[in-house]
Symmetry: C2
Subunit: 383 residues, 2 copies
């Protein structure tokens, strides 16, 4: 098993009818969630913001095809009803069900379809590789590949599935992550751990700079493995989220390459993150990577507009990793070997490492190249 | 005459050799300038930040092909030398010469070429339509069209040329504006007026969200027309800059359409500007406009991540202007007629008007659609 069903007691299932999918994951535990910071948040996000406060979930239901966003009071009532329908099918209290939606904005949920799909999916629930795959597939929209991650730590595991290939694409978009662990952890600590893990993973993925109305990540801790050291749990959860985040970036709409930008030497992690996100989100960096053009000036120029102070004449920049790491600028002096630099851009993964010489803060961010295909997916699709 | 040479006493000339161009504009007056806020600013920008403090210029020299950016101390010395060379050719003190550069980052100026071009251009200086055209063409890089604007106000005029087709494209990029007026205005007032005009024009153009190391706008006031009311001057200067800014947006790399986003009902102008810039810079809005897809959910979702508070259920959004204006959302209720909305996207200019119902602040921003051609220009060009 590659993700959620590697966690003892987690059952999953999912179906997809055309673009309308439904996944259910069942496992009882303490629970935490993080949500989009977009002011325009979808009805299921608004509902879950309240419901997660209880710190406990028995199941999570995710539908794809309709985001139930920008749907006003009726949308909120529909979200409540969706959780009631699932509760009835599962024999669980509605208050213990997590819900998430992804798909078209500005359309109402088809509750009749949701009801029928819930009835079909519940009997399929099982603890198996096929089941986690079905769930991961059911929540896909423009994703080309399903996304699984599993971190096996000392005595416990963290596994998750997610969907997402643009930070937002209102026709078909959104990032949704569903993570389980068998570690025993209180809801408040779990919320703190998840918030940090999301900050260091999903919040550092930039596909197109847009942010969905529906983004959310859940983490449920079943406790079957007993208590574990907090630092070990944090590390495992972060590794799981980072793996999923990189899979989202690599599957970015139209992408041919994953871009990783590592920034060190910032005054703090926040400053490093701002620089890394700005560089990885730059259209000019993204198009240069697509064209395998070692145009490092675009990286430095993007860093310069991140709102973080540093001395441009003291930065060092490399491209590639491991043995292929090639210096481009060292302490502000251009040392680029453009032939080697271009070679470092050939693969499916391009890494820039930027040291800005101001302090000890570091962070990485992930994105993808910008291609004609992205334009085609988002421009040629007609509502 | 269409721009700078409509101002009495302004002489211009320019030549272009392949991608290396040089323009000189000569006219004496009080002067102001605004520059890029990118931390990584080019040598000519650093030099002019100091020099403009004297508030007086006799001429402006702009070269294209090399940005003289990320060139360290040698770059700064080269910028000083460039102004000395021009000063020698013009018979003017170097301290009274404004300079600007645009082109490749990370390469040194070819001062020999600059010297030769200065000697060739100075004898061509004249007050004519052909001269302002030659100057506007000499500073073009990836621009497809030269850009002129002229506002004839009551008793005075403001005319300008500019170049720019991406907020930055380090191979070939940057926005440079050169504006003249015959109004008489002190350097300090001129600086205040220019800063406001740039804020309301060039700073509201988003082609790709990147910001050049070399952006600058100069305004020189010859005073020939005598003193004019400050409010009238401000309006004329803003109209001139707004015209140039819209020409930059329309000539955005790969663009097929100009996008104008007007936001009203914000708590203040700054909030309205933030929303307008975020919407016009959204890759998803840009691709939707390219595809003539009336996907208004992308506009609302982009507005929601602008960092400005408003009630999503109280917004109104229209597409088109004048008789073609079509409501999409009214007070939070979806009223879109997708057939009419699509029709409003057919032309070269697409206008979204968003009212967020929080106050009296309003602002417009301009951008362009995102096309396969943008990707090709920026991805397929190899350093």
């Amino acid at each position: 098993m590659r993700s959620i069903c590697a966690i003892e007691g987690v059952e999953a299932a999912g179906i997809k009818e055309g673009k309308y999918g439904l996944a259910i994951i069942r496992a009882s535990g303490t629970a935490a969630a993080t949500f989009t910071s977009n002011l325009v948040s979808a009805a299921p996000v608004n509902l879950m913001r309240e419901r997660i406060a209880a710190g406990r979930l028995e199941a999570i239901v995710v539908n794809s095809g309709c985001a139930n966003a920008y749907t006003g009071k009726k949308g909120y009532a529909d979200a409540v009803e969706m959780s009631r329908i699932a509760a009835g099918a599962l024999g669980i209290e509605a208050d213990r069900i997590g819900i998430a939606s992804t798909g078209v904005i500005g359309r109402y949920l088809d509750l009749e379809r949701i009801g029928r799909q819930c009835k079909e999916v519940v009997p399929l629930l099982e603890h198996s590789a096929a089941a986690e795959t079905a769930a991961a597939r059911a929540i896909m929209t423009t994703d080309l590949v399903e996304k699984h991650a599993l971190i096996e730590a000392d005595g416990f595991s963290v596994g998750g599935i997610c969907k997402g290939s643009g930070m937002i694409a209102p026709n078909m978009g959104t990032m949704i992550g569903v993570i389980y662990t068998d570690a025993e952890i209180g809801a408040a600590d779990l919320q703190t751990s998840l918030r940090l893990a999301v900050r260091r993973s999903f919040n550092r993925v930039v596909v197109d700079g847009d942010e969905s109305t529906n983004d959310c990540a859940f983490c449920t801790a079943t406790g079957a493995a007993g208590r574990v050291p907090q630092a070990e749990f944090d590390a495992a959860l972060q590794a799981c989220c980072a793996s999923l985040a990189q899979q989202i970036a690599a599957d970015g709409e139209g992408a041919t390459k994953l871009i990783e930008v590592r920034v060190s030497g910032a005054v703090d992690e926040e400053a490093a993150e701002a620089v890394a996100r700005t560089v990885v989100g730059s259209s000019l960096v993204k198009t240069a990577v697509y064209g395998e053009d070692p145009n490092w000036g675009r990286v430095i120029a993007a860093a310069g507009r991140a709102g973080v102070r540093f001395d441009p004449d003291a930065v060092s920049l490399t491209i590639g990793e491991g043995e292929a790491e090639t210096p481009l600028v060292r302490d502000g002096v251009i040392v680029s070997d453009l032939v080697r630099a271009k070679a470092a851009m050939h693969g499916r993964r391009v890494v820039f490492t930027l040291a800005i010489g101001e302090g000890e803060g570091s962070a990485a961010a992930w994105g993808c190249d910008l291609t004609e295909k992205y334009v085609e997916i988002n421009g040629k699709y007609t509502t």
